[in-house]
């Protein structure tokens, strides 16, 4: 079952009332709100978008999360090592897209509620990011697909 954008908005309003809808069309919803996983508050944007594939048919909604403030950064002790578990953002290199789930395991699908998955996963991601920033170790698990 696919949750419509209307339903997603309703669930977000109920579960995360401080998150505001910045834009909404038939094709996407953009929210913005703050999270404080540990001691630092982050402003994040969540984009839920219908993606078009090469034959112009649409595929189900894909969520993308970026951290607006403060900007994510590399470790000053090791500036050559990139931030773990993110996708590059082709529209804005300063706002990498967080990799919150493994597509191979189908942890996310269009029947999932953004409010009950993506947002708590973002909290987890930010907590692990802070730990990595402080210690150099990402302790929350996960896997990378090595780029060719």
């Amino acid at each position: 079952m696919i949750l419509s954008t209307l339903k997603q908005v309703e669930l977000m309003r109920k579960n995360w009332p401080t998150f505001k809808v910045l834009q909404r069309t038939r094709w996407f919803v953009l929210w913005e709100g703050s999270l404080r996983p540990l001691c630092q508050t982050y402003m994040v944007q969540v984009l839920l978008q219908r993606m078009k594939n090469y034959n112009k048919s649409t595929i189900p909604l894909i969520p993308r999360v970026t951290v607006i403030e403060p900007l994510l950064r590399r470790r000053s002790e090791d500036p050559d090592t990139p931030i773990p578990h993110h996708y590059p953002n082709q529209y804005n290199s300063k706002l990498p897209i967080l990799c919150l789930y493994d597509p191979a395991t189908k942890e996310w699908y269009s029947g999932c509620s953004v409010a009950r998955t993506i947002i708590p996963w973002t909290i987890d991601w930010l907590a692990c990011y802070e730990g990595w920033l402080a210690t150099g170790e990402w302790t929350g698990g996960g896997r990378h697909e090595t780029a060719e």
Partner: protein, 418 residues
């Protein structure tokens, strides 16, 4: 007694957990505490041996200072402050000369050449120190009970044997009365004390080093059950040690810090807020005196003749430097309370309390948090948008609003290093 705020259960905020974990790493371990007690008892027995000049003449032998209030820290800095402070109360005449009790106690502890403490004993200006090879020191202060005065109000003696022309004198003090006053002003806040105790015991189990030659000593009361005020006192002593580690001269006395902490104790819900309030309070006391052109003058509240600041600060320069240090402390703790990322928290705690305990605490926190997330056990607070951090492995009930995070796996395309 401070009432626990049900909406703010103790030790759930990450900054508070990290401060508590630093405190756990600097406090005396159970092994070292048992060792300290054994040594204290051994010295007591030694002073009563047959050849001792004080055999049968010590009316009382009791701990004072940090050991008396449960605030001993085991610093690994250059200026180690792993001290056991003890009072020995001999039955000497009131008109005894200032050097006599010190000389007598020195002879009683040092003993004959070749005896167990002979090479370890030093005669200091107001006490006799026994230095152990593992950096523990035991300071025994002779004091004469003043009759018809509040309990254990006593005379202590000041005499520098190596500087015979310097003034020698007698002071009035009541360290026992101070310890009792301090304990009354800093009662346990039970919810917090329970969690801190559990957390300390978890740490001990993971890091315990057993000593083949020591036997366990029965605890008279739980070692790790402490109020926020005592933990803050330990953190402030550690902070003081870090600041003064490479400086020459005297440093602000622990008993002065203890007195000021007790004056403003337990008015907050959170450990970080307690630390901030205490730092601000101490700073305001110092600033007030400094602005009036005076050196700070802090007395024992149960014995006003007992001046806790009689040897420090010695000058306005000493005082100004400490005020500067306090200002820096306040500014950094304010950042912790307001919120900052874990890297910043680590940086602040390292500058305040030393790199080793700060890094260890953050590393352990990161491992625990990541382990919960990676194994699909993480929970979040839907009202605050934050991760719920268990305060203890044993599991403490969390505030309402806790929800389980669905298990997930971080992913991403690995990028090569630049």
């Amino acid at each position: 007694m401070t009432q626990i705020n049900p909406l703010r259960p103790p030790l759930t905020d990450p900054a508070d957990i990290l401060l508590a974990d630093v405190a756990i790493r600097i406090q005396l371990s159970r092994t070292d505490y048992d060792k300290a007690v054994q040594r204290y008892q051994a010295i007591n027995a030694w002073i009563e041996r047959d050849e001792s000049p004080l055999k049968g003449h010590v009316e009382l032998f009791y701990p004072q200072g940090s050991m008396a209030v449960g605030a001993t820290i085991a610093s690994k800095l250059k200026t180690d402050e792993f001290d056991i402070d003890v009072i020995a109360q001999p039955d000497l005449p009131d008109n005894v000369s200032p050097w006599e009790p010190l000389d007598l106690l020195y002879e009683a502890i040092r003993g004959k050449p070749g005896s167990r403490y002979y090479s370890k004993t030093k005669r200091r200006t107001r006490c006799i120190t026994v230095d152990y090879s593992d950096d523990m020191h035991l300071d025994v202060t002779p004091s004469l009970r003043m009759r018809n005065t509040p309990e254990r109000q006593s005379l202590i003696f000041h005499h520098r044997a190596e500087a015979p022309k310097e003034p020698r004198y007698v002071l009035i003090a009541n360290p026992y009365g101070f310890a009792e006053w301090f304990k009354a002003k800093t009662p346990l806040d039970y919810g917090f004390a329970d969690i801190f105790e559990k957390r300390s015991e978890e740490y001990e189990r993971m890091h315990i080093l057993t000593e083949a030659d020591s036997e366990p000593v029965p605890q008279q009361e739980p070692l790790f059950r402490k109020s926020k005020a005592i933990i803050v006192l330990q953190l402030l002593k550690r902070w003081r040690n870090v600041q003064y580690d490479t400086r020459s001269g005297r440093r602000p006395p622990s008993i002065m810090i203890a007195k000021l902490v007790a004056d403003a104790a337990n008015r907050t819900d959170r450990l970080s807020e307690e630390l901030l309030l205490q730092a601000q309070h101490i700073l305001s006391v110092f600033r007030e005196h400094h602005d009036q052109g005076r050196l700070v003058h802090i007395v024992n509240p149960v014995c006003t003749e007992d001046v806790l600041t009689d040897r420090w600060p010695e000058s306005r320069q000493d005082q100004a430097r400490f005020i500067n240090d306090l200002g820096d402390l306040v500014q950094k703790v304010e950042q912790l309370v307001a919120g900052c990322d874990l890297a910043k928290v680590q940086e602040i705690m390292a500058s305040l309390f030393g790199e080793i305990p700060a890094k260890e605490a953050v590393q352990a926190f990161n491992e625990r948090t990541g382990n919960e997330i990676g194994s699909g056990r993480s929970q979040y607070d839907s009202q605050k948008g934050g991760l719920i951090i268990p305060a203890s492995m044993a599991g403490i009930a969390v505030a309402s609003g806790a929800r389980a995070t669905p298990k997930h796996t971080f992913y991403g395309t690995e990028r090569r290093k630049r």
